[in-house]
Symmetry: C2
Subunit: 131 residues, 2 copies
């Protein structure tokens, strides 16, 4: 498992159990919403507050430790990784990372140098197609 603690050590944020729990949740699930993070962490930290989740998500975002994506207008969060696209299943909601190299035209970097790209692909995943 990735060393989540070191992500905080290298930042301006202190290491707290709540922050580690958020990072662990994102590492496990890959992508999660505020509400999903809250519900999961509440099982281990029954006293945790929604406000704490919000504050930490914002701090972690500001430090560049996590990043925010927008799936059908709903914000979700993931650990910061190489730039990549997202495939979203319209039936089950499954989200998959897709490397930009596999799908992005090579010319786009010439046309829009130093730009930050977000690509969402909405379709039906393999599992749902079987059914």
């Amino acid at each position: 498992m990735k060393n989540l603690k070191s992500l905080l050590e290298e930042s301006n944020l202190k290491i707290t159990p709540q922050r580690l729990a958020i990072l662990k949740e994102l590492d496990n699930k890959g992508h999660a919403s505020i509400e999903e993070i809250y519900e999961t962490i509440k099982e281990m930290f029954p006293s945790i507050s929604l406000a704490t989740i919000y504050k930490n998500i914002n701090s972690l975002k500001d430090e560049g430790i996590i990043s925010e994506i927008c799936l059908h207008q709903k914000p979700k969060y993931e650990l910061q990784k190489e730039p990549h696209a997202h495939f979203i299943c319209q039936k089950c909601g499954y989200v998959e990372d897709v490397p930009f190299s596999e799908i992005m035209d090579k010319n786009i970097e010439k046309k829009y140098p130093n730009s930050q790209k977000e690509l969402y692909i909405y379709g039906i995943c393999a599992k749902c197609k079987e059914k």
Copy 2:
């Protein structure tokens, strides 16, 4: 100018001054948020309600007359057009449509057939670069 009225005539929605005003605003600006639409239309219809904007935006979206995009987590709306990408200037907020044909890898359709794509490119526009 495009015949905005006919968009409503061909739908299940009745023609009202408020709806025409919303479509006209989107046709003028290209892209606008609920708040922007509200502020502009209020100048002509001081009695218009925010709730009316919300309700109509939802109806127009359901009818496929307009579509919703997500710019830095803020929802904006545009008249329904050919699928295209969006370039967003990070300095001035300017939004430009970019045809998919210019930038999307041709293989993406093979890999994800019948999928709906959303591509956002965040950068600095020509005008802001000059400064």
